[in-house]
Structures are given as C-alpha cells and as structure tokens.
C-alpha cells in the first residue's frame, strides 16, 4: 500500500520472485520436456536445436481431441453456470435469511463435504444407470449443478457484506429476490469470480466420475481421453506432459480472465 521502496517491500519482492520460481520452475521444465523428442528424454539438459512440436501434433491428430475438448468445455460451462446461480442463492439464504432449519441445512452442507466421495460412487452410478443417464451429458452435469464447497464459500462471503444496504433496499420495497439479484450479486464480483474459477477448474479437471460414467470415446471428457492416452504412453513423459499442458491451458486462461475482478475497490467503494 505504500509506494516508497521500504526495506520490507524489497524483501517481499524477493520472496515473491522466489516463490514464483518454485511454482513456475516445474512448469517451465514440463513445457521444455513436452517439446523434447523421445530420444532425448533421459538427458537432463535441453538441446534447443532438437525441440519439436511433434508430441503435440501427435496428440491432436491421433485422438478425437476436438470432440473431447468440446465435451469438457460444454460440461464445465453448464456446471459452472448452474453453480454460480444455485450456490449463490443457497449461500445467500444461509447467510442472510432467517428461517427455521437454517442451521440444520448448513450443517448438512458441511457434513456432505466430509464424506469421502469414493464411498457413494457406486450407489450413485447405479442410480444414474436406472435413470438412463450413464454415458450422457445429463449424468455428467445435472448431479453437479450445486456444490457444497461453493455454497459454503458463498455463505462466508455474503457474511462479510454490510447489511445496511439490504435494509435500505427492504425499506424501498424490494423483494428478497430483488435484493439478491440487484444489490447483493453486483456487490459480490470477487466472490463470483472465485466461484467461477473453482467451479470451472474443478469440473474441467475432474476425472474419477467422468471416467466411471462415460463408456464411449465420443463422450469422454478431455481428462478421461488424456488418461486413456496416459495409460498407453505412460513411459513417454514428453507426450504425457504435452497432454497435460493442453489440459491445463484453458483453466489458466479462465483464471487470467477472472482474476481481474480481484482489483481493490471495485466491489466495495461506495459502501458505508
């Protein structure tokens, strides 16, 4: 917050750079490795003259990559939109509206996060197969339109928004839905952006469930598709890492787009 170069800010800057090296280093190494030809995999050194995009070309051409990409994007977007709307509503009710059973429902939200998902996978699979949703977009999206994690997240954020504005709006005769959509949501951009990032990356990267639910190659999401590819090429780190980079890029782009909502002032100036 201070603009002069205090000793503290220099220390902070050095630390910031060091940690960036720790997080980015392995990433840089992955990208370099993904560009290596298989014959040079063993060498720790990077021979820049032999770097090739062959690994990427191989993945993109030998697999129905576009289809998987579209499946993943579609599933992640539908789930994320549902999450943004439904979790915000639920989180708001749990934070702001007073009604009997609120504490109980909140405990259920917390409680459901505590059960290891592995244990309900087969019962859920049986249920979806009874609904005829195995290997369909329904099965990949509808059970995930709400998320306890994000409801909890939104509740905590709504708790930090000052009540005065809502009270004023009630005086003006706005209904609960009016207050929520017109006053609360516009004030919650950082929280909504956070939820968008989490929901999108979470669904984009989810593997266990899509791998259980999809059985035809045309329904695979990118993670399942790439894992079928990992299974076959696991000995070739260059190709595995090329696949990973392809998988990771969209989530990084989503993050870059939405992180700009974390700019001080947008959400809170004008309050109080």
């Amino acid at each position: 917050m201070t603009k002069n170069k205090s000793p503290l800010s220099i220390v902070v800057f050095i630390f910031a750079c060091l940690y960036a090296v720790i997080t980015l280093g392995p990433y840089v190494w992955s990208i370099l490795t993904s560009l290596k030809p298989t014959s040079e995999l063993n060498s720790m050194l990077v021979n820049f003259s032999t770097l090739t995009t062959e690994n990427y070309r191989m993945i993109l051409s030998e697999f129905p990559f576009l289809r998987w990409f579209i499946n993943s994007a579609f599933v992640a977007l539908v789930v994320t939109l549902g999450n943004i709307l439904f979790n915000s509503m639920a989180g708001y009710a749990l934070a702001r509206i007073r009604f009997p059973g609120r504490e109980f429902i909140f405990m259920i939200v917390l409680g459901l996060m505590m059960v290891p998902g592995q244990i309900v996978m087969i019962p859920m699979y049986i249920l979806l197969s009874k609904l005829g949703w195995v290997n369909t977009y329904y099965g990949l999206t509808i059970p995930f339109l709400t998320s306890c994690f994000n409801i909890f997240l939104m509740r905590q954020f709504f708790l930090t928004i000052p009540k005065e504005l809502e009270e004023a709006a009630t005086m003006d005769g706005l209904s609960r839905f009016g207050i929520f959509f017109r006053i609360v949501l516009p004030l919650s951009k950082p929280a909504l952006a956070t939820q968008f990032i989490f929901s999108f990356t979470g669904n984009w990267n989810s593997f266990l469930w899509p791998s259980l639910l999809t059985s035809s190659e045309s329904m695979y999401t990118l993670t399942v598709g790439l894992n079928s590819f990992y299974g076959q090429y696991y000995q070739y780190w260059n190709q595995v890492l090329a696949g990973t980079i392809i998988l990771t890029l969209p989530t990084i782009i989503v993050f870059i787009i939405f992180q700009r909502y974390f700019i001080r002032g947008i959400s809170t100036t004008g309050l109080k």
Binding site: Y137, N227, G231, Q235
Partner: protein, 419 residues
Amino acid sequence: MKRFYGVLLIMVMLIGTILSGCSTGNQNAQEQTNQPAEQETAPEAVTLKLGIWSSSPAEKKIVEDQLALFKEKYPNITVEIETIVGDYMQKLQAEMAANTAPDVFYLDSMPAPQLMDAGVLEPLDEYVTKNSVDIEDFQPQLLDAFRWNGKLYGIPKDFNTLVLFYNKKMFEDANIAQPPTNWGELRSVAQKLTKDSVKGIVLSSDVARFDAFIHQNGGYLFKDGQAALNLPQNAEALDYYTGLIVKDKVADTPQNIGVGWNGDAFAEGKAAMAIEGGWMIPFLKDKSPDLQYGMAELPAGKQKATMSFTVAYAMNQKSQHKDEAFALLSFLTGREAQQIVVDSGLAMPSRISLFDAYKEKYPERAAFIEGADYSVPYQYGLLGTNLQKAANNASDAVIMGQAKSAQEALDAAQKEVAQ
C-alpha cells in the same frame, strides 16, 4: 427485477435444450443397443459390448484387427469396444452392480478368483463342449488360473513370462560368455558387472518378481486357499533376493537407482541385467533402439521357475446373448485371432500349437516359451491383492532395513494377511 427472471428463465431453458439436444444422439445409440434384446426373433442383429483396457496403442490394434476378422465371419454380430480408462476393477464392479457391464471382457488372473467366486461370470464348460472348442490346446497352467471349484470361467487370450534380460555389450566387456543359469552364478556374474554407476542387476521390491525365486527354492506363498508366507524356504529365497541388494551390493531397486521401473534402469544402462516380461521388447526398441541385449531363462534355484502373467476373456453371467458372446470369446482365443497375437510380437499366444510358430518367428525369444512349462500364474486366490501387499511390505522391510531378517519380515506379513 423482471429482467433478472427473464435472464434466469432463458438460461435454464438454454441449458435444458442444450442438454436434451446433445444427448439425443446418445440416447438413440443406447436404444439401438437395447433393441436387439427385444427382437429375439431376428437373431442376425446382435450387438455385444467388449470390455478391454489398453496399455499400448499396439494392444488396441490387435483387438481391432481380430474384430475385423470376426465381423467377416459373423456379419450379424456387431461388437462395440469399451476401453475402460482409469481403475479397471472399479469400473467393472460398478457396471456389474448396475447391470451395464460388457458381455465379454478382459480378466486379469489376480482379481479373477474374486469374480469367479462371486458368481458374476458365466461358467464356460458347457459352451466349450457344445462348440467342441479344443481346450486342451491351451497351456494348462494358464487355464488353471481361471478354474474355480472345477468350473472354467475364462479362456486365456495371451500370456507373458519373466525372463532375464542382459546387456550383451556389458557381458562382453566383463568377459562373461553365458548368462547365469543358477543362483550362485547370478551372484558372481552380477558381482563382475557391478561398477561405479552400473549395478549388476536391477531388482524391484515386488512380489511379482521375487515370487519366482521363492518357487525356484521349492517354496510358495499361497496354497489351497491359505497364505503360507513365512515358510523357511520362502525366507531363504527372499534372503537371497534382497541379499543381492543389501549384502552383496550387486543389485539395487529402480527407486534407489533413480528410475521409474526395471525397464528404465536396463534401457539407460544403469543395470546390466533385469528380470521382466515381453512388454520390455517394444519398450526397449523405442527407448534405446541401439541397445544390444539378450533374453535367457531365469537362473534356477533348486528347480526352474518363473511367473506367468495372463489375461483371459470372460463372459458376463448377465449377458443377454450368451451364445453370441461365446462365439466372440472363442473366436478371440481361436487360432486365427491368436496368429495376430503372434504376428504382433506383443505377448505370447496361449495356444500350445502356436508356440512353434512363435519361436520360429522370434528365435531370440525362446526363453519366454521355455518358461511356460514351469511357470506359476501370478495369483493368490481370494487373498489376492491383500497377500500381494503384505509380501511387498516384507521385501520393502528387508531392503529398507526395517526388519532384521527375511524370516522376521515374512512372519509379520503372514500375520498381516491372517487377520
């Protein structure tokens, strides 16, 4: 306010239409697969699901080639491949519980007893008799891995045995003419080959490798439904195996060498010998195409022994089209389809009548076939992965110095399995 509800409504409708639009294609596909079930009167339209995993593109190609031949013979049967991604047994279990499992599927020897015991597989004996399948042509040890209470539940599609891979150049440099043939030679040869950055042999702390030594020493980890981990002859074998690493220091584990698995250590020239199966061959060709290596039978202890790894085709007990499913199963394990396995060189055919064809085509790989007769299937009955884990812990404990002796480690493992 109204605008918000408008937007909300449109969004919900949009999601709804997209969902229904996108899934119609798939629902049709599902209905199509279900239709033949209702149209029993028209036998020519049957669709079967074939469940496989795919550990390499070449493996998947074998199945596709086999199915192309199958289609010529049985134009009425359509086969859909379901390649299971992720944990195979997990998905199979879920699909069986929900009645969506494939009609015919891969079955590894290790989890086979659980499935055979559970009664979810169709016994094949009747079909074998009815269709007069020459079942005696299959290597008996492999077939036995899929027998339970006297009934046959799977027909092996191919197999692999463990052999000794050795680096020819390193052998020449150390003036060793022949690969070792017994435990003593193995130790002394490994001794000669060990240098600063090279170990004589790479040995993984894995029961799938050292169990061969246990059988060579006349021991066994499992017999008649019971774990027998701590027999003295087992301890002796494990002591020899781990001793090469801990006492003689002529061997090491891939982890200690700094690689992922035995194959890496051998390919990178960090070990002069390795005990692996036929999957090494395509791997080495890819990773170190210039490496000159040979394959020999495993050195013998009191007797010869090696492990065999086999996968069978099994039939879902709930399949709607069992006769067609058996037609598929017996075709995939038939001579014609097995010839494709031979040609691919990826694994060995499970039919004895094709052994000669295999040896002729790959004379340098004779050791794999020689091993078939004295091989032991990698399988521990219903104890399965439980015993496997306990045994691995025992060798880990010895190698990492957490147990005083092999006997002590195996005693602990026996206790672990027993409860």
